[in-house]
């Protein structure tokens, strides 16, 4: 039996395996010296990079033009998963649809909410459905959108919970006839349940309910509801309604023509947003999370949609198009770098890089020049 006390005892047991403090202390001075040398070397390299950037403004026009090779980006829906709900709370509609890739397993993620998503902010009511195709390798490393590994076997990450916020709709629902009747147990805990004849695990914790089951030996389905009332009524009804039907296609309007060795597309998809209506998004991660690629990751995420270039930044030209370069140092010392490109017709491309160890601007700019796009996403296909 797993209790909170047993978890505490387990963590204490793990902590008791801590290394010898004297040994760690003895190695610290050498570590400090090494770090100091590295900082000095980085500072020198930064000066060189700044000089190179000046020429990049001129030379970047020679990069491969954007938006010319329509064959490399389909500009429309790609592969899709066949699972979806046949019931939704009133007023809820799909706002995010992505597919994640690894060397084998794929993970489809869909989110429903009462309004479009913005990039940051508080959480609002949502329901997510994750279909993990984990095949025979149940715990293959799968980087999550925040760059950390996750396994597709279980609900390691709810897309959008960290970075996006549904807004523009009502706050909390489950008032469409699905509210628990008086006396309903609204406590927390885990229980074994059955979803469409399959054994399932249902976990309640505060405003979150997660239900996981395997419709086939190689597939794990997870439904997570957040802020949908204080019990599992909505999540359970949603989960019971999940069935195989017509495929739900995933947007793949962005194409990286020349991916640096050691990296791969990790996820692609689209989401509804307040500011620009609909954004296609593609994320890049190391092909092998346990390896150390020779080259630095040029960019983490690419976004394609409508909207003007953000204010500020330094003017650039990428693929013959007007662009700007931005950077911002976060409190945790992460440098956020962005190349924004005006694609014309109100379309824009954002190439984002989050890193403790940033890449030179030239690397980000050159990478941005290797991207092609198809038709801009409109997210209409999110409404099935």
């Amino acid at each position: 039996m797993i209790t909170e006390d047993s978890i505490r005892e387990t963590l204490e047991h793990g902590a008791s395996q801590a290394p010898d403090p004297d040994r760690v202390l003895a190695g610290l001075p050498a570590r400090i010296r090494t770090a100091r040398r590295r900082r000095m070397a980085t500072a020198s390299a930064g000066t060189v990079a700044a000089l190179v950037t000046l020429s990049a403004v001129v030379n970047a026009t020679g990069l491969s033009p954007l938006d010319q090779d329509r064959n490399v980006a389909t500009g429309g829906p790609g592969a899709g998963n066949a699972y979806g709900p046949t019931w939704l709370p009133s007023g809820m509609y799909e706002v995010v649809r992505t597919v994640s890739f690894t060397s084998g397993p794929q993970r489809y993620e869909r989110i429903w909410s009462f309004g479009p998503m913005t990039k940051v902010g508080r959480l609002r009511p949502l329901i997510s459905l994750t279909v993990a195709e984990d095949g025979e390798s149940p715990l293959d490393p799968l980087p999550s959108p925040d760059g950390r590994n996750a396994a597709p076997r279980t609900p390691r990450h709810i897309p959008g919970i960290d970075k996006v916020e549904p807004s523009g709709g009502p706050d909390v629902h489950a008032s469409d006839g699905t509210s628990p009747p008086p006396g309903t147990d609204t406590g927390t805990g885990t229980e074994q349940v059955t979803i469409n004849g399959h054994p399932a695990v249902r976990e309640r914790s505060s405003n979150i309910c997660a239900i996981a089951w395997r419709p086939t030996p190689t597939q794990l389905l997870t439904v997570v509801s957040q802020d949908m009332g204080n019990d599992c009524t909505v999540a359970s009804r949603f989960a019971q309604s999940v069935a195989k039907g017509s495929s739900a296609p995933v947007n793949d309007a962005i194409k990286v023509n020349r991916m640096p060795e050691g990296y791969r597309v990790w996820s692609t998809g689209a989401l509804r947003t307040n500011s620009s209506g609909c954004v296609a998004r593609l994320s890049i991660r190391p092909a092998d999370p346990t390896a150390d690629p020779q080259l630095p990751l040029p960019a983490d995420q690419i976004e394609y949609g409508h909207g003007p270039l953000p204010e500020g930044g330094e003017p650039l030209t990428v693929g013959g198009r007007p662009a700007r370069y931005y950077e911002r140092l976060e409190l945790d010392e992460t440098l956020f770098q962005v190349v924004a490109i005006d694609l014309g017709d109100g379309r824009r491309l954002l190439v984002n890089k989050y890193a403790r160890e940033p890449v030179p601007r030239t690397v980000l700019v050159e990478f941005a020049g290797q991207i092609s796009v198809g038709e801009p996403p409109n997210c209409n296909w999110l409404r099935d």
Binding site: E4, E203, A210
Partner: protein
């Protein structure tokens, strides 16, 4: 308190925390040393905070969650097979799977952010508000990470023993 005085007094506690967090004494050593290197550079500012140790633990958590560290660390997630092996031949016993060694293996197999949230909640006894401050996320997301971690542990246990009992919840520090 000087940096040296702080280290001598609190290094053992920092290492224990890092080991619970990383699930690996060697990585704990790495993570703590890296955090201390950074802390040493700005110690005057850190020492001026109300809780330098809490600040250091936040730095250690961030260091651990750093993607680059994970990428270069060669960490290989624990597989189901490993978990089953850890369970040994008596793998059909719910009590056996609740053994702390098996549970420790399951905790180590969690995704880093979920593991961090779990450790901050049950090892450090932080409130969800405090966890959200350490992880740099909303309180709801912190709850979500802990909840998912518990769900995963339950799924893993349930996968090996359908008779596993539900998680009981004795008093925990509430947000």
């Amino acid at each position: 308190m000087t940096f040296e005085e702080f280290i001598i007094a609190r290094l053992p506690a920092l290492l224990r925390f890092a080991t619970a967090l990383t699930g690996d004494p060697h990585r704990a050593e790495d993570v703590v040393q890296d955090a201390l290197v950074k802390a040493q550079r700005r110690w005057r500012r850190i020492a001026g905070t109300q809780a330098p140790e809490a600040y250091l633990k936040r730095m250690i958590t961030n260091e651990y969650l750093s993607w680059r560290r994970r990428r270069s660390s060669g960490e290989v997630p624990v597989t189901d097979g490993t978990l089953a092996a850890a369970g040994g031949p008596a793998a059909d016993s719910a009590d056996h799977h609740a053994d702390r060694h098996v549970l420790w293996a399951m905790v180590r197999a969690l995704a880093p952010k979920q593991r961090a949230a779990l450790v901050l909640r049950y090892y450090e006894d932080l409130s969800y508000a405090e966890i959200s401050g350490v992880l740099g996320c909303s309180e709801a997301t912190a709850r979500s990470h802990v909840s998912h971690a518990l769900t995963i542990l339950r799924v893993d246990v349930a996968g090996q023993s359908p008779d596993a009992a539900p998680l009981s919840r004795p008093a925990a520090k509430e947000a």
